[in-house]
């Protein structure tokens, strides 16, 4: 099993969700994160005091998938999330040795 993690621009979430579903995976877990990288943050000013926010709002999507589907999902995400501008984000893949569906106790591919 693979865990694919994507950090993307927030407004691309809908496209990425659709892309993942088109590969045949319905489930995923999403969270709001902040990214640092080439894309610069910005300065806010509160009552004259400068406040540097060097982080940029991003959305993180985590998808568990069979090894066989992993590459397709990565491709699908990359295509859907791309704008071509700095800050489009990263996708990475790690191994999951075990997956369980809580409701049923099913394991492995059946748990997805």
């Amino acid at each position: 099993m693979k865990l694919i993690t994507a950090v993307i621009k927030p407004f691309k979430l809908d496209d990425v969700k659709d892309a993942i579903r088109s590969v045949g995976i319905e489930g995923m877990t999403v969270s709001e994160v902040q990214g640092a990288g080439r894309q610069r943050g910005h300065t806010e000013v509160y009552r004259g005091a400068e406040y540097e926010v060097d982080l940029v709002p991003k959305v993180k999507v985590e998808v568990l998938a069979d090894d066989s589907q992993a590459q397709d999902i990565v491709e699908a995400i990359v295509n859907a999330a791309k704008t071509g501008k700095i800050g489009d984000g990263k996708v990475w893949v790690t191994d999951a040795s075990d997956v369980v569906r809580v409701r049923t106790g099913e394991r492995g591919s059946d748990a997805l």
Binding site: E44, V45, A49, Y51, V53, D54
Partner: protein, 464 residues
Amino acid sequence: MLGALVPYQHWLSSGDNTWQLVAGVLVGLMSIPGLAVLYGGLVQKKWAVNTMFMAFTGFSLVLVCWVLFSFKMGFGNSWTGVGHGIFHNFIGKPGTVLSHEGLQSQANIPQVSGIGSMPPFRFPMSSLVWFQFVFAGITPLLFLGSVLGRMSVKAWMLFVPLWSTFVYTVNAFLLWGGGYWAQKGALDFSGGYVIHLAAGTSGFVAAAVIGPRLKRDREHAVPNNLLLVAVGAGIVWLGWSGFNGGDPYFAGADAAAAVLNTNLCTATALLTWVILDMVASPMKKPTFLGAINGMIVGLVGITPAAGYVDGFGAMMIGVIDCVIVFFAWYYLSKIRPFNKVDDALGVVYTHGIAGFFGGILTGFFADPTMIVYVGTGKTPAASSAGLFFGHPWQVMIQLFAALTIIGYDAVVTFILLKVVGLITPLRMPDEVLEIGDAAVHDEEVIPPETLGRMASASVSYENS
């Protein structure tokens, strides 16, 4: 004793003056913080600061113009001198009200008060200037609802003074300053036309001229906090007691009737929208923002009528106006030109259409037994009658007055925006629109506390 200090001149009534001042404060609160946080809570999070900034500055800009020249354009002597026809009764002559006479002498609207249709005022000029300012000041904040999320700050800060000077003062003079429609007997108790129809019309035209919000923003146009919407809406509702209650200019029976009618029509309209939500909306569920919409429709609908109708009339206006606006909101919005213009908060419905029909319904329901001013001796009491009370022509007067406002305001709003557009772009650039508050003002409504660091603290303790 040959003399003594007394607190005020003989013409002044402390009761009437207090009422006028307090009514003004209540209306002021409707703008600041009322509308500022009502709209600030209704927009998506990235535009909350900008929305409030526009509200605070818009209100301030109008006041400065008001005392420097525009109060007299709405409530002074006709600019073109005495004469007949709309062009001699269209706008007042500009002038300041900054001197001690402008502040402390007896209030007076030369073409209206103390000359037959209204008793002489019992409060000073500054009370009148203040009271009428809060109406002038709220109007741009209302149409802000149409253009927020893309109009540039600079364009706003130019447009508001221009609009207030060239549009609002004309509306006010025509209906309240003794101008053409006042002379023809058009009824607009507190601004169903002067304010709400005007805001709906101008906001819609402005939204069309400035163009829509970003597609991305429209797709995420959810409110950022309904509790703040409730704070603003609540202040707007109760503040409206001053909005309509202050307009007889005396703390008498008509003021009290206007207060009660205002709240009654509002409650009725709120409940009407809730019921329509439950039976006629797509989800068939009562919604809080539906209740707020109904509330606003009720407030706007009773505004032209508040002291002219009886309680039955107030309830009927609440029901009828709300049904009209509810269906306009759901169905008219699907057809041209309404589906082609991005009126962000739907001001054209809840203020424009609600104000239009409120005014028309006033022409039906005005009850001549409602006495605005009491006649003594042989002078008959001042009151007005609508179609249901034997005066069918009133409906046509109301209609023509409304069409004047719609036509004039739409055209002049269009021209003014084109002029402003020559000086500075009306829209913010797309890169700025993508970010919102943080790009326009370097501020966010809820700054991410743990994720940033004070770099230069111009106003803060330095370690020594």
